[in-house]
C-alpha cells in the first residue's frame, strides 16, 4: 500500500515538475540561451575526448549519423541518416544520408565524409587520438557506393552496433579537412550542426549562432547561444539564481539543488535521474608498487563504499554502489553477488585487516603516493577527500593533486600518474560500451590503469559476439570478476543526475547521460 502511494506521489511529482516542459506548446523562434559549462575543454575534437566539457562545447556545431531519441530512450533515430537497413546476420549496416546537407564552410556533405570520420574513429592516423578505437574495431570496411549511401561491413558481430552509431562522440567531420590535416578538429570547427561557431574566449565562453542552412527545416529555434565556463560551483549557482545563465545541463549536487529551489521557487525546473556515469579508481600498473596486484587490491579493500555512499549522496552527486554496469540496469550485478567481490565487502573491518596484511606482504606497509584528481568540486573533491580518509585507515599517506581538466587528462594520457580518480562517462547502459574502458591499453587508450590483460580482452570479445542474453550476462560477470580480482581499476560510486533549468527553457530532454541531447537544435525560450 505504502509503495503504491509512493508511486502515485512520484508520478504526480513527475507530472507536476518534469512535464512542465513537456506540455505541448508551439516553440517560439529567437532569443539567446546562456548556459553554464563547469569545465573548459582543452580541445574541440569529439573523437579524442571523454569529457562532457568537449561535448557541451562542440555538440551544437556537429551532427552524427544516428542519435538517441531521448523521449523514448534508448531508441535510436536518424540524424544525418535519413534511413538505414541492418543485415539479419548483423554483418552489414547501410545508411542513406539526408540530401542537401552542407558543412558550415559551404561544402556539401557526402558519404565520403562519413567514411573519413569513421576511418578516423576506428583507425586514427599517427598523432591523432580516438578513444573509440576499441568500440569500432569490429568494422571491417566502409563502402560508399554513391554520395548519399554508406555501407559498413563488419568483421565480427557487435550486438550494440546501432547504438554505437548513435554515440554523441561521433561528430561527422569533413573529409577534405581530415585529408589536409587529420588533427584539425582539435583546433578548428567545421560541422553540419544547428549552430555555427562564433568564438571561443578562453576562460570565459564559447558562442554559436543559428546555422541558417541547417538541414532540419525550421531548426534551430534559438538565434544564438553562449556556453559560459563557470568553474566554481558558487559562481554557477549565483549566475543561475541571477538569470545570467538559464541552465546547467551536466548536473548539480543535492545541496545546490536545495539552495536553488529555496531561492527561486517555481522559476526553476529540477529534473532528476540515475546517471550513466561513475568515478573510477585507476592504478597505473606501469608504476611501482602498483604493478603488484596485492597493493592494488589492498587499496580497493580499504574503501567502505556502502557507508560512503550514504554520506556522499547527501553532499555530492555520488550515490549508488555498483560494478561495471549501472546499478538497476538489466545487466547490472546484483548486490548479493557484488559483496563477494574485492572492494565491495560490507564487513569493512575484516576487509581493512586483510588490506593491511596484503600491503605488509607486498613490502609497503606505510605506502605513500599521489592521487591525481580533477579540480571540479562536484563530485571529484568529495571523492578525493573520502578516498584519502579511507586509505589513511590502513596506514597509507596520500597527497591530493587536483588540476584543471587539460592538465589532468594530459598527465593520465602520458601515464605520469600513480593513482587517479578517473571517470567512466557512458551514454547508454550497453555493456559493449561500459566494458570497453577496461580493455588492454593497446586497444583502449582511455584505460588509465594502462593494464594489458589478454584474458579480459577475450572475455570482452566473446561477450560482444554473444546474442543470448543469459550467456552474455554470464560473460559480463566473468569479466567483472577478473577485473576486480586483478584490481586494475574499479568504480567508486555511480552518480545521480540533477539538472536545473529556468522554466523558460523549453524543448530540452532529460536523459541518464549528460552527453546526450546537447546539440540544442530543439531548445527554445518561452519568453
Amino acid at each position: 500500500m505504502r509503495s503504491t502511494w509512493m508511486a502515485l506521489t512520484l508520478l504526480g511529482s513527475a507530472l507536476a515538475f518534469g512535464a512542465g516542459g513537456a506540455v505541448a506548446q508551439t516553440p517560439k523562434k529567437g532569443g539567446t540561451l546562456n548556459f553554464a559549462i563547469s569545465a573548459e575543454t582543452a580541445h574541440y575534437d569529439c573523437h579524442a575526448s571523454d569529457t562532457y566539457a568537449t561535448l557541451h562545447f562542440s555538440s551544437p556545431f556537429y551532427s552524427t549519423l544516428l542519435r538517441f531519441n531521448l523521449a523514448k530512450f534508448p531508441e535510436v533515430e536518424g540524424d544525418l541518416a535519413k534511413s538505414w537497413t541492418v543485415a539479419p546476420d548483423l554483418m552489414s549496416y547501410t545508411f542513406k544520408l539526408q540530401e542537401g546537407v552542407k558543412f558550415h564552410d559551404g561544402t556539401a556533405l557526402t558519404s565520403e565524409d562519413v567514411k573519413a570520420t569513421y576511418d578516423r574513429l576506428r583507425n586514427p592516423p599517427q598523432g591523432v587520438v580516438s578513444t573509440r578505437k576499441a568500440t569500432f574495431a569490429d568494422i571491417g570496411t566502409i563502402e560508399t557506393p554513391d554520395p548519399l549511401t554508406v555501407v559498413f561491413k563488419m568483421k565480427a558481430v557487435n550486438a550494440a552496433m546501432l547504438e554505437h552509431f548513435a554515440s554523441p562522440w561521433n561528430c561527422i567531420y569533413a573529409a577534405k579537412d581530415l585529408a589536409a590535416n587529420p588533427a584539425i578538429p582539435r583546433t578548428k570547427i567545421n560541422g553540419t550542426g544547428p549552430f555555427t561557431f562564433v568564438e571561443h574566449v578562453k576562460g570565459s565562453h564559447v558562442s554559436g549562432k543559428r546555422n541558417t542552412g541547417y538541414f532540419k527545416k525550421g531548426l534551430p529555434y534559438l538565434d544564438d547561444y553562449k556556453g559560459i565556463f563557470t568553474l566554481q560551483a558558487a559562481a554557477m549557482l549565483n549566475a543561475l539564481q541571477g538569470g545570467q545563465v538559464l541552465a546547467e545541463f551536466r548536473g548539480i549536487s543535492p545541496a545546490e539543488r536545495d539552495r536553488l529551489v529555496a531561492a527561486m521557487g517555481d522559476k526553476i525546473r529540477i529534473e532528476e535521474q540515475s546517471w550513466t556515469l561513475n568515478l573510477l579508481i585507476a592504478f597505473n600498473t606501469e608504476k611501482k608498487p602498483f604493478d603488484d596486484v596485492r597493493v592494488r587490491k589492498a587499496l580497493l579493500m580499504a574503501i567502505d563504499r556502502w557507508g560512503g555512499s550514504q554520506g556522499l549522496s547527501k553532499i555530492s552527486t555520488l550515490r549508488s554502489v555498483g560494478g561495471v554496469i549501472r546499478p538497476g540496469s538489466p545487466f547490472a550485478t546484483p548486490e548479493a553477488e557484488l559483496v563477494k567481490l574485492p572492494g565491495f565487502s560490507k564487513d569493512i573491518k575484516k576487509s581493512r585487516e586483510e588490506a593491511k596484511r596484503l600491503l605488509k606482504e607486498a613490502g609497503v606497509p606505510d605506502l605513500k603516493f599521489t592521487l591525481w584528481n580533477r579540480n571540479l568540486a562536484m563530485p571529484y573533491t568529495p571523492a578525493g577527500v573520502f578516498l584519502i580518509d579511507q586509505w589513511r585507515q590502513i596506514g597509507v599517506t596520500v597527497e591530493h593533486k587536483q588540476s584543471d581538466t587539460g592538465t589532468y587528462l594530459a598527465t593520465m594520457n602520458a601515464g605520469n600518474h600513480e593513482v587517479a580518480i578517473d571517470f567512466s562517462n557512458l551514454f547508454m547502459d550497453d555493456s559493449s560500451l561500459g566494458l570497453a574502458k577496461y580493455l588492454s591499453v593497446t586497444r583502449a587508450p582511455e584505460n588509465r590503469s594502462r593494464s594489458k590483460d589478454a584474458e579480459l580482452d577475450k572475455l570482452y570479445d566473446d561477450h560482444m559476439r554473444e546474442r543470448d542474453p543469459a550467456k552474455r550476462k554470464a560473460l559480463i560477470r566473468a569479466f567483472e570478476k577478473r577485473l576486480f580480482e586483478q584490481a586494475y581499476q574499479q568504480p567508486l560510486l555511480w552518480w545521480h543526475r540533477i539538472v536545473p533549468t529556468h522554466k523558460v527553457v523549453m524543448g530540452w530532454e532529460m536523459s541518464p547521460s549528460h552527453n546526450l541531447g546537447q546539440d540544442l537544435a530543439e531548445v527554445w525560450l518561452n519568453q
Partner: protein
C-alpha cells in the same frame, strides 16, 4: 663615628617586554593572540581534540556542541581541530613567505641604495613594475604559471607566489632607510679600508636597517596569511583535505553555509583575528621602535 654612606640605589633596568606592553597595550594583546596561534600551530597534535582529516558521516553538519565546540563540516570533520591545524598551515606559509620575501627585498633594497647610479635605477624600475600589481594578482599569476610543487607536504610554489609580491614592497622601504646609512662616515671608512661590497652591505649597512626590515616582516605575515587564505579560497592554494582556513571557507562551505553557518563563521573569525593581530603587532612595533614616538 662613621656614618655609612647611603647604599646607592641599583639602577632600574627596564623590562623591554613590560615597557612594550605599557606603551603599546593593543600590540601586547596582539602578541598574546599570535602566541596562542603559534602554540596551537606548533602543538596541534596535542591540542586538537580530533583528527582534522577523519571523516564521520554520522556527524555531518553538526552544530557546535560540547562534543564539537565549533561544530562539524559537510564530511563530519571537527571544525575546531581543523582550525587548530589550519593555524599551522597559515603560520608555515605566512612566516616562510614573509621571511623569504622580506629578506630578498631587504637585500635588494640595501644593494640598490649602496651601489646607486644605473644599478639603483634599473632595480627601482623593476620594483616599480612589480609594485603596479596588487599582491593577490601577482600571486595568482605566479601560481597559475608555475603550478604546484610540494616538498615535504609544503607547496614551495605557493610560498614563492606569495613571497614575490612582497619583495618590491620591502625593497622600496629598506632602500629609503639604507640611503641615509650609505652616507654615514663609517661606510666611507669601510670603503676606504678596501672592504668588499658584500662585506659592506651585509656587515655595515644591513644591521642598520633591521628595524624597518622587522616591521615589514611582521606586517607582511598578515598579508601572506590573507593571500594564502585567498588563494586557497580560489582553489589555487593548499588542497583538500589539508586543514587551511581559506579552504574551509570555500568548497562545500559555499553549499552548506545556510544550514551550517559555523562552517564559515569560525574560519572567518580565525583569519580576521590572525590578520588583525599581525597587523596591529607590526604597527605597535614600528611605533615602539621609532625614536620620534619616544619623545
Amino acid at each position: 663615628m662613621t656614618i655609612a654612606a647611603p647604599a646607592e640605589a641599583a639602577p632600574r633596568v627596564p623590562n623591554a617586554a613590560m615597557e612594550f606592553a605599557r606603551r603599546q597595550p593593543l600590540g601586547a594583546i596582539s602578541f598574546v593572540i599570535i602566541c596562542v596561534m603559534m602554540t596551537a600551530g606548533i602543538f596541534c597534535e596535542w591540542v586538537a581534540p580530533y583528527d582534522p582529516l577523519a571523516i564521520d558521516f554520522v556527524q555531518l553538519l553538526g552544530a557546535p556542541s560540547l562534543e564539537h565546540w565549533c561544530g562539524t563540516d559537510a564530511y563530519g570533520r571537527d571544525i575546531c581541530s581543523r582550525l587548530i591545524y589550519g593555524a599551522r598551515t597559515a603560520l608555515v606559509i605566512g612566516f616562510t613567505s614573509s621571511f623569504v620575501g622580506s629578506t630578498l627585498g631587504a637585500i635588494l633594497g640595501v644593494a640598490s641604495a649602496y651601489f646607486g647610479g644605473r644599478i639603483d635605477n634599473w632595480i627601482q624600475r623593476v620594483v616599480d613594475i612589480l609594485l603596479a600589481f596588487p599582491i593577490i594578482v601577482l600571486a595568482l599569476v605566479v601560481v597559475a604559471a608555475f603550478g604546484r610543487f610540494a616538498v615535504a607536504g609544503i607547496d614551495v610554489n605557493l610560498i614563492l607566489a606569495i613571497a614575490i609580491p612582497i619583495v618590491p614592497r620591502v625593497a622600496r622601504v629598506v632602500r629609503a632607510a639604507a640611503l641615509s646609512v650609505r652616507v654615514m662616515p663609517y661606510v666611507d671608512a669601510a670603503r676606504a679600508a678596501g672592504y668588499s661590497h658584500t662585506r659592506i652591505i651585509f656587515r655595515h649597512m644591513a644591521p642598520n636597517v633591521v628595524a624597518p626590515y622587522l616591521i615589514m616582516l611582521t606586517a607582511f605575515i598578515a598579508q601572506a596569511i590573507l593571500a594564502e587564505a585567498s588563494l586557497s579560497f580560489l582553489g589555487l592554494g593548499v588542497q583538500e583535505p589539508t586543514a587551511a582556513w581559506g579552504l574551509m571557507l570555500s568548497g562545500n562551505a559555499a553549499d552548506f553555509y545556510r544550514q551550517a553557518p559555523w562552517m564559515i563563521l569560525f574560519p572567518g573569525v580565525a583569519i580576521s583575528l590572525a590578520v588583525f593581530a599581525f597587523n596591529l603587532f607590526g604597527d605597535s612595533l614600528r611605533d615602539y621602535l621609532d625614536p620620534r614616538f619616544k619623545v
